[in-house]
Amino acid sequence: MRRVLARHTFPLAVGAIAALFLGLFFLLPLIKVFGASVLDATGGGFTLANYINVLSNPFFLNGLANSLVIAGTAAALAVLVGVPFAFCLARLPIGGKPALLALAALPLVLPSFVSAYALVLLFGRSGVVTGALQALGIPFDSLYGAKGIVTVYTLTLYPDVALPVIAAFKSVDASVEEAAQNLGASPGRVLRTVTLPLVMPSILAGGLLVFIEGLENFGVPFVLAEDRPILSVEAYKLFVGETTDNPASAGVLGVLLVVCTVAALLIQRGVVGRRRYATGTRRSAPAMAASPALRRLGAVYCWALVGAALLPFAAVVVISFMQFKGPVLHGGFSLDNFTELFQRSYRPLTNTLMLATLAACGATLIGVPIGYIVTRHRSRLSALIDIVATSPFAVAGTVLGIGLVMAYSSGFLILTGTWLIMVLAYMVRKLPFSVRSTGAILHQIDPSIEEASINLGVSPALTFVRITVPLMMGGIVGGFVLTFVTIASELSATVVLYSGSWTTMTVAMFQALEGTSAGIAAAAATVLIVCTVLPVALVYRLLRRHELSMM
């Protein structure tokens, strides 16, 4: 027994830290949310009354339906635009592929509610485009509601489908397709009967990701839904209590959100899990011999899609330099919006930079060892850690935030209102990415390199420090930066957890939106875009190697 323990010290220690961290700041908050949903008003007795209340209320039922329909439609549309994009990039000889790839990945690190806000500025009731169209006498119905939300989701989340599917198209062994052609199948038939079925698992996985992110997103519906109920927004409103705070109903909505994502996950596993499509030796199919017309069509499509996704962000940046009177665009360029934004305080910017740095460090420090033991020490324990450490991605930020407040506003550890609770929430939310990306990096490093070091007399722990970490460094830095920028643009947990002195850039923008200072909101959005694009651009060369497999 002592021998076994000694040999497993490293995985056991990592497992213990992971269990403690996830138990305290992920599982306990979830249990609190669940508890709130099944406890009666006294907090003592079990009851299903809360569920009956919520589910018999047409408003909330409507919210549930809205959330599911919007997320489902967005997932379908993302697949519909993402798969052809992936095919063009993987198989057609079109120009500027590296640039296209980089630009296609960009929406994933940019805050999606900024895109939503841009839509409001352009196509909203007093939007630039709406106004222009109406002036020309063309009737235009503004973009609020489901169609606006679905549009934003599709444009910002299609890379979730496109990037893995590009990799999948490239990993289909050319000889499998050649065999089909040799047996008499036309190129179209090969695509339909061989290639698409082989990339189907990646398509489904990407679609699922869009669905889950669409369900949990807070900012986009907050900007665009107006008075239509959406689960994640309603949970927030119930909890923060615009009228009276109602943790029980908020808990019910939170549980419903988690149930929806878990159900989607299980369905996807059921569909994909039974199939194994590993093709043996890999030789990527060469670029298709496409006619010039088809090639031009593909190029136009790809650039148009990438452009459409990034246009709102560009518009926000431009608009942020223009003059506003209240919510109405006035015209003329100036720095007034930025002056006004920073006149209030620099705190939101420094808070965002500090909190994102701390949380990214934390997520990396915990995630890398977890990813390491999950990948290298295969056992039942590590399989369990893997499941728990990657499940936060199925929990909406709003729900996690609510749970953290419920768990840590009284009792043995009081964190509500501190910066620490925000950092902890970010760490939990980004842990799945950190664990997965570490796994992806490790798959590139042959385990015998580590065995060689141990064989030469260096202990496993020292080998990890001297050999494994240096070899992983590029990937770790890349992962760190991606974690940093996605935390910088996090809103759904932040909005529940922030307190006055710990206002972040996203909250500043959120508050500006709630008020009427559109100019300040645009300025805050621009600052956010700079905060995310700049670090990514700085380590672009490091990221390029990893983005396809991990994001």
């Binding site: 015998s448 390199i449 065995e451 060689a452 070091s453 064989n455 030469l456």
Partner: protein, 354 residues
Amino acid sequence: MTAITIDGVARSFGAVRAVDNVSVFVRDGEFFTLLGPSGCGKTTLLRMVAGFCELDAGRILFGDARIDTLPPHRRNTGMVFQNYAVFPNLTVGGNVAYGLRARKVGRDDIRSRVDRALKLVQLDGYGERWPHQLSGGQLQRVAIARAVVIEPHVLLLDEPLSNLDAKLRVEMRGEIRRLQKLLGITVLYVTHDQEEALAISDRVAVMRAGRVEQVADPRAIYEAPETAFVASFVGTANLLEGVVRNHDGDRMEVVFGGGVIHVRAAKANPGDKVVLSVRPEALRLLAANETPPAGWATLAGTLGEIEYLGPVTRFSVTLADGSALHLMAFAPPASPGRVITYDPQRVVVVGAVP
């Protein structure tokens, strides 16, 4: 310089018995090879010695010291991996010095020992190079230098040549053997290539399905296989099933489908069912007017397929019952001979028919 005792060692992966109660003794300074098809447990056994695979049962000793309870980094074995496993983040010199640094060897000492090790594998002057600048064969040399420079108790090689092309493989195996003799080090070597095993080893253990079938020197493995598996895995063999008829102490007669064959005496009684192994080159097709050498026996048949391979020719002779014997000769058969002659001393009983 150490002898290795592997004593009743076992390991299962799920329902598969990867290593099934194996006992092997490797002498001090011996070049000992584990030979077998993929999945026979040879690599698992090697990794048990290195410490990368835990034992379900049994023990492993270096000399008199039990080592299977030690963690892998305290065993002082030098391992050469199939894919070299050269650290890509260190120079050639850094790779070779790695184990010495772990052993807290002094800086000057490290430099001289690294230089000597690199000279030994004919890479002197390569210390400053980076692994990505080297060819496969050179990486292999770095891996070997890195393993021997720490003066390990034993040198473990896991299919070290399988990633090299055919010509380089022959060259490198000669070099590994030269190095082993020069250093007088105990080597445990894993391969699935039977020619490599015969060429390089002092002794060979042929493994199948987690068990050791036979341990012997290369000549005995080839010429006196103890099991049908060893006979057919090492080289090619005609395996014949028959019944012992006469046994006169020196020779015995075995009746099989194609006729009667004379065999060197073995532990068997008349009426026993046995399996025989005859190497293709032990059989000769007689020309029409030729007489067999003294003491040799004959079998009748018809010449079948001929395969010309350059240095040798393989052909088959169909026997009375329609079965075929495979023969090998330096020259293609000149005439369609009908009589095979052979030395009964080279026909071996490799087991009983179950």
